[in-house]
């Protein structure tokens, strides 16, 4: 996979969504580039998660969606379920907020890491196993071979989130959507995950959509930042610009609400 800067790996255009008659998204535009982390911020309920789910076609029961999500020259929204299934996990992967709930509690780590490999890449059991161990090593799980046999509840929160990331990366996707991957974790653990994400993005040329409402996290890893409010993207731009010289009053109010004035460095 070659990461050409400037080419959109995935672009969302005019995405509208209503769930059970309630309008949730009113025309969202976003575009992700390979090798870059795109941060998506905004208050609770503004539609960040729904945007991410729409890309994978995993919207909740009773959703109606319109617009266009272009990926590899095709519109994911109109894609038949079977084909979309071949994109999910293989080309576009997702990491969820709470690692305690996003891994299946009754299946071993190995199974959760390898089953979609077999499915998407057609690799054999043994090879999948080796790759899985490699992946665990890459996300820095100690003792990867042994870890494969264990169940998620035998790991700490941070470890679980690393495993979830490994699962997402198993089929070498081009796009990774991470929905608040660190909100459920402690700051010290969060730092590790953020470093991991940044590293993967740089090394593998992934296009990452990082959903978070923590502007500090945003500032630490995102290249581009978009701010959402009430189902609309109100501001998009490079990290430095959006966080230092916000154009939209809403972004400014977000920054003003922060306890520590921006610009003041921590020791």
């Amino acid at each position: 996979m070659t990461a050409e800067s400037g080419t959109a790996a995935l672009s969302i255009e005019g995405l509208r969504l209503s769930i059970g008659g309630h309008d949730v998204l009113h025309g969202v535009d976003l575009s992700l580039e390979a090798g870059r982390v795109h941060g998506l911020a905004g208050e609770s309920g503004s539609g960040k998660t729904m945007t991410g789910l729409a890309v994978l076609g995993l919207l909740p029961h009773g959703s109606r969606v319109s617009g266009r999500i272009a990926f590899g020259g095709r519109d994911l929204l109109g894609m038949p379920a079977r084909e979309l299934n071949q994109v999910r996990g293989a080309k576009i992967a997702m990491v969820f907020q709470d690692p305690a709930t996003s891994l299946h509690p009754m299946l071993t780590v190995e199974r959760q890491l390898t089953e979609h490999m077999g499915h998407h890449l057609g690799v054999g059991r043994k090879e999948a196993r080796e790759r899985a161990a490699g992946l665990l090593a890459k996300v820095r799980i100690p003792g990867p071979e042994e870890a494969l046999k264990r169940y998620p509840h035998q790991f700490s929160g941070g470890m679980r989130q690393r495993i979830a990331i490994a699962v997402a990366l198993a089929c070498e996707p081009e796009v990774l959507i991470a929905d608040e991957p660190t909100t459920a974790l402690d700051v010290t653990v969060q730092a590790g995950i953020l470093r991991l994400l940044r590293g993967l993005c740089d090394d593998l040329g992934l296009a990452v959509l990082l959903v978070t409402h923590d502007l500090g996290v945003m500032s630490a890893v995102a290249d581009e930042v978009s701010v959402m409010k009430d189902g609309l993207v109100v501001e998009t731009g490079p990290r430095g610009q959006v966080l230092r010289e916000p154009r939209h009053p809403y972004t400014r109010s977000l920054l003003d609400a922060l306890p520590v004035p921006p610009g003041e460095n921590s020791p």
Partner: protein
């Protein structure tokens, strides 16, 4: 840090408590034994509250006139002793595997139970099997086709299932299928002319298979069909509703979304990711439902002339046959224990968090 952390940590702790298998088993068995003793105590007290006197229920008109016979009978059955002593005698007998002699059948209660319990287990077992297959199947379909026509239909049907009076349904089924349509065989466990298969398990279907007697097997299955279905209707309704909501709940879980985000085919997601955790509550309910089946048998057995514990219990209760009632109580306790054990073992099979400490 999340608001749910406290209760969830409590839950994990309880699970871990179970994991050392031996300790857990011992605890369960002790509880069950206490339960059984409790049950016998309750039945003992209850039946002794009764205004009637078992003597008059069990002796002929003339024999009752003879105080010597009455006294003899009382002495034979230990009824001349103070109540606590009677109860202790009963418990002591229990320890030696002696459940006493039934006052109405004049046979050891154990023998009576050995005949009637398998009959009921066969009936209830067939019913639970049918309920599990149909109930879980319907529940999954309803959940997957949520809010579509089939979901609504199944929902109404399952509500009807839990609303039909079993005794009435048994009557209607017997009348319609046996009498009017003549599709089901009559009362009893096998055709009247047939000799029961040699007893191994006491379940005629199984025993017939074991001894290779196909005619008996088909007759037993035929006789089983109608009462088992009548009995199952309620549990089918119950399990359908339960499975539906359990599956819906699991479908809303992050890990299912994550599995779908991995691009796994729907079938794999359903069986590996959804069904397995959804079965956990379903198993609990199925275990409890088995108890309600035992209740249902009392009513169904009466209509289908099924020689099971239900009939035995009914007869014992109305004739105040104390040893028999206590025997039934004990059986019930044992069944409860076994069901609980099975349910717990199944938990372990399904959920590694129970298995792996």
């Amino acid at each position: 840090m999340s608001p749910t952390s406290a209760p969830s940590s409590r839950r994990t702790r309880n699970r871990a408590l179970r994991s050392p298998l031996a300790r857990f088993l011992v605890r369960r068995i002790v509880t069950a034994l206490l339960l059984a003793v409790g049950i016998t105590l309750v039945t003992f007290v209850l039946t002794n509250l009764v205004p009637g006197d078992p003597v008059s229920a069990n002796l002929g008109q003339r024999a009752l006139g003879d105080p010597a016979i009455v006294a003899q009978w009382r002495a034979d059955h230990g009824l001349d002793r103070p109540l606590p002593q009677q109860y202790l005698m009963h418990l002591e007998g229990l320890l030696h595997g002696d459940l006493g002699t039934s006052q109405q059948s004049h046979r050891p209660v154990l023998d009576d139970l050995a005949e009637s319990v398998p009959a009921t287990l066969e009936l209830a077992g067939a019913a639970i099997l049918v309920s599990l297959i149909l109930g879980v199947g319907f529940g999954v379909i309803a959940a997957l086709r949520r809010d579509r026509l089939s979901d609504h239909v199944l929902r109404v049907l399952s509500l009807i299932g839990i609303s039909v009076p079993t005794f009435w349904l048994a009557l209607v089924a017997f009348y319609v299928f046996f009498f009017r349509l003549q599709v089901t065989p009559g009362s009893g466990r096998i055709d009247p002319g047939m000799t029961p298969p040699p007893q191994v398990t006491g379940l005629y279907t199984v025993d017939a298979l074991l001894s290779g007697r196909w005619d008996v097997f088909s007759s037993a299955v035929g006789h089983l069909a109608a009462p088992a279905l009548v009995l199952a209707l309620y549990t089918i309704g119950l399990l359908t509703r339960f499975t539906r909501s359990a599956v819906l709940e699991v479908l809303g879980q992050d890990y299912v979304r994550a599995a779908r985000a991995k691009g796994l085919p729907g079938r794999v997601v359903l069986f590996r990711y959804v069904l397995r955790p959804a079965l956990v509550p379903v198993i609990t309910v199925a275990g409890l439902a088995f108890g309600s089946l035992l209740s249902g048998t009392v009513l169904v057995e009466a209509v289908f002339a099924w020689p099971g514990v239900g009939q035995y219990a009914y007869k014992s209760a109305t004739t105040l046959d104390l040893p028999a009632i206590m025997g039934v109580g004990l059986v019930v306790g044992v069944v409860y224990l076994v069901i609980n054990l099975v349910v717990d073992v199944l938990y372990g099979v399904i959920d590694p968090r129970v298995r792996v400490s």
